[in-house]
Symmetry: C3
Subunit: 380 residues, 3 copies
């Protein structure tokens, strides 16, 4: 007894309950990664490292319950990297759940989300890890993204003109990141985001997909601005990074994060750019008597610029420049510039693809590094 299903890449199951009382799409995806890197000691490659990794393995369930106005999404991470970050703040259990969120379209264009979901932060972060243009996200994202959190979000969108679309999002979150079970420490985190799509919607939601796989015939542009205020934040990267512990609790300071990002696509060409800035009221964590604890908020700026061209053959060549410039006087971190050249073969779009990239990492005052990565993606 075989069970018929849809085409490859469209979900394992697409279930519709009796009388259309509910739906569920079940998807799964995996990434197999090989990587190698070397230190560049004045032209000589030394300290080579290599690794094989099941980089990501995910299960995704989404659909609606009772009415199309009440949607849900659950995403689970099965690989060891997916689940990492276990601590006393997560009941010493792996961070198995990525998303677990209800989306209620309670009135016209208004949606209320509750549960755990990605915050309306930088574009690169919101693009699914299964839809990236390179093997993985940039160092801007690694250092500045505000990932997922527990709380509520309001979403709204409207048309300024026939083609000019504006989206607004507001989130109120615990402010310590995903899967936290110990309740809210410090104050809440408030995130606002505005998005402008002056030239109309991207085909196939391409404003949040890497590469120009839908090859829009007319130019498409999306611009986004996020302002995030983490009141009495207790972690070094707003709701990410490590907890700033003191002898009798946590060091608390207000942290703000700003993102400005853009996506542009036309035919096979795509461009994505991001700017990030983090600031803190007092970035140096201190004991109650004023002694520094050694922890500091990772304040500074970063830029990420990437562009690619997708050939008719579904081979894509892409380049990326990323720059992270943390405040050296506060964090002690050096300026980093990364230059990446990527090559992708989209066999079935992002659903079955092979991607490879080569990165040159130039860090101030230390030896540069070279990194090579090869990744295979499969999405059911």
């Amino acid at each position: 007894q075989e069970i018929p299903s849809t085409k490859f890449g469209k979900g394992i199951f697409n279930i519709v309950g009796k009388d259309s009382s509910w739906t569920m799409k079940v998807g799964a995806r995996m990434q197999f990664l090989t990587l190698a890197s070397w230190e560049n000691d004045h032209g000589e490659l030394t300290n080579g490292e290599a690794a094989f990794l099941v980089r990501r393995a995910r299960l995704k369930f989404d659909g609606y319950a009772l009415t199309p106005k009440l949607e849900y999404k659950i995403e689970l991470g099965l690989s060891n990297r997916d689940m990492s970050g276990s601590s006393i703040y997560t009941s010493n259990t792996p961070r198995f759940i990525l998303d677990a969120v209800m989306k209620w379209n309670f009135y016209k264009n208004f949606e209320l989300w509750f549960g755990q979901a990605k915050l309306p932060g930088n574009r690169e972060r919101i693009v699914s890890s299964g839809n990236l243009q390179f093997v993985d996200r940039s160092i801007l994202n690694a250092g500045f993204n505000i990932d997922r959190d527990l709380g509520i979000q309001f979403r709204h969108h409207f048309n300024l003109t026939d083609t000019f679309i504006v989206r607004e999002a507001l989130a109120i979150s615990q402010g310590e990141g995903r899967n936290v079970t110990t309740g809210n420490i410090g104050g809440f985190q408030y995130t606002g985001r505005l998005e402008f799509l002056p030239l109309g919607l991207f085909p196939n939601k391409g404003d949040y997909i890497g590469g120009s796989l839908s090859r829009p015939e007319t130019p498409k542009l999306a611009i986004g601005i996020t302002y995030d205020f983490n009141n009495n934040a207790v972690k070094t990267r707003s709701n990410q990074g490590s907890y700033m512990l003191t002898e009798n609790g946590f060091y608390e300071t207000n942290i703000t994060t700003l993102f400005v990002d853009a996506m542009f696509k036309h035919k096979g060409f795509s461009f994505m750019g991001e700017y990030a800035n983090r600031d803190a009221e007092d970035p140096i964590a201190k004991e109650t008597d004023g002694t520094p604890t050694g922890q500091v908020v990772q304040v500074g700026n970063a830029v990420n610029l990437q562009a690619g061209y997708l050939f008719k053959s579904n081979w894509e060549v892409a380049g990326r420049f990323s720059n992270v410039d943390l405040s050296k006087s506060i964090t002690g971190e050096s300026l980093v510039n990364e230059y990446t050249l990527g090559l992708s073969k989209y066999i079935v779009g992002h659903k079955l693809k092979v991607q490879t990239d080569f990165t040159y990492v130039d860090t101030e005052n230390i030896n540069s590094r070279l990194a090579y990565r090869l990744q295979f993606d499969i999405h059911f």
Copy 2:
């Protein structure tokens, strides 16, 4: 290719194998919880706390294999709270499996269960966390329940008269709780339970479901008595709580737990009451030389009484009084009284509901507390 399924709330899949050689129902559920609490410092509310939580996220598989006489049930907990309790006794792995049990109807009304399942303990514990009348269970349950364990259970039932049903259960377990991989420490745990249903079966198994959602036309009553003997128990709450470690092993003492409980329903009205008592041969854990280790068995009594009325509109108002009275001389714990007022809207029964409750916690000699909770439940 869409896969048709049943109505919302009746399972994601209801599979029947060829020639009815097996069945499987696959279900999933989630609870999204928001909570806030305050200390009542002589009329002033201080030390406010708030949290968002994916409280529970579960997957359930049940059905039969080969013959309807051989049933199985597997339940997995995906949320961080569900999986908590990892320790060296669980191979330092999360407690992912809740139930994993075979139920073999080997002769007439007799069933043999083996694997991990809920013990035949207090009624409130056996009621699924997806079928509760309030946002969560009472402090009686928190302090006295005997949860799940690994071992075997015998189950039997018979009719005393046409309507008077009697059920018996006997369990033999390791006695250290669920997911233990280090074998049995101390002696085994023996649990016996008797249940009396003098007025016939509740519709839709309502004796183990919170609220009177089936609104029985005639009064229905269930009374249960559990006696649990944990031979050479090594944990502070029988098979729950923490291990009573000594310098060269474990402190062992016999612990008994007694539950008397009742459920009554008539039309929209429901009442559930429970009494619990824990005693130990020698509750104070000692080293072999007689020095107390600091750990003590949590001996004492508790009462939980709750009642609710379900309106035609499927709104329910319910009240609860809970009292935990641990032996102060032994445990040092103060008497606690809790008063809870709950309001529930059952949109699709327990399958899609919103529940909220307000609790006043009155603990002897310390400031009282106020707690507010709001929870959304969805069950596929």
Copy 3:
């Protein structure tokens, strides 16, 4: 709305995507184990121990994507024993993924595997834990197997004559075992295996299934030889065991493992034999200054011989002799001989079975032990 599926034991779902663009078989299995053991103190049984365990609980997904030439397999372990082995080398997360591997038949009889899979090691290890002749594998396997690892494998097979089949496998792996996220430490691990089937294929792939359930009418024989070279290995049992830590890193030494194994079946009779040998360039782990760290490579030999007869009634009687002879001068371990008598009832082959075995453990210079095990297996 019921979903029809196949017969019991053939998978929960057997999905075929539109235009046969992909397939997926979803299976699940569980093992419930009861065990008891005693020390034999000069004829008196002392120190009795007993335990109940959900020994294994697995989910398996396999099929092909896009073309039958591109197969995948994912196996997840849900029980606490399945997931054990969490460490800083696995991001402090449970080892949830067992297999996650792509198998690409890129040319004729050649296959390229990548991801995490069982290495082509000893036969007993490659036989699925759901298809064993006894309750569990032998002490040879416990001490010498090379389990799973991350990397690539090449597989090939050809016919020497009409019936004489030869299989070759070559694996290149990280060499520290499954689910490692910290990259490759020391050098890579290289595994080569040759298999000879002079009398043709076993029915139903019986060369990797315990017991002679397919009762071949003519004799069937498989012989395998594995040579494994772990370059600069850092664990005490090649890619298994514990890390050999030093004050400033890891002790590295080349470790070789050799396996010779055979499977023979004719009608109801089956025989499986294995020999294992582990050697190391310098088995005694040392600090850089030459001081021994206390860790040593577990060098030595082992033998496992087992045979069984399956009656028409699908009851099987089987016996096993296992011997582990580690180098006493290096490891300090005593010679162990184990004698096991097993009895199995295959109700639906390996898919629904009850197995029990009785083992006499004879360890040089210490009291012998007796162990009894009873296990129930169910596979959907």
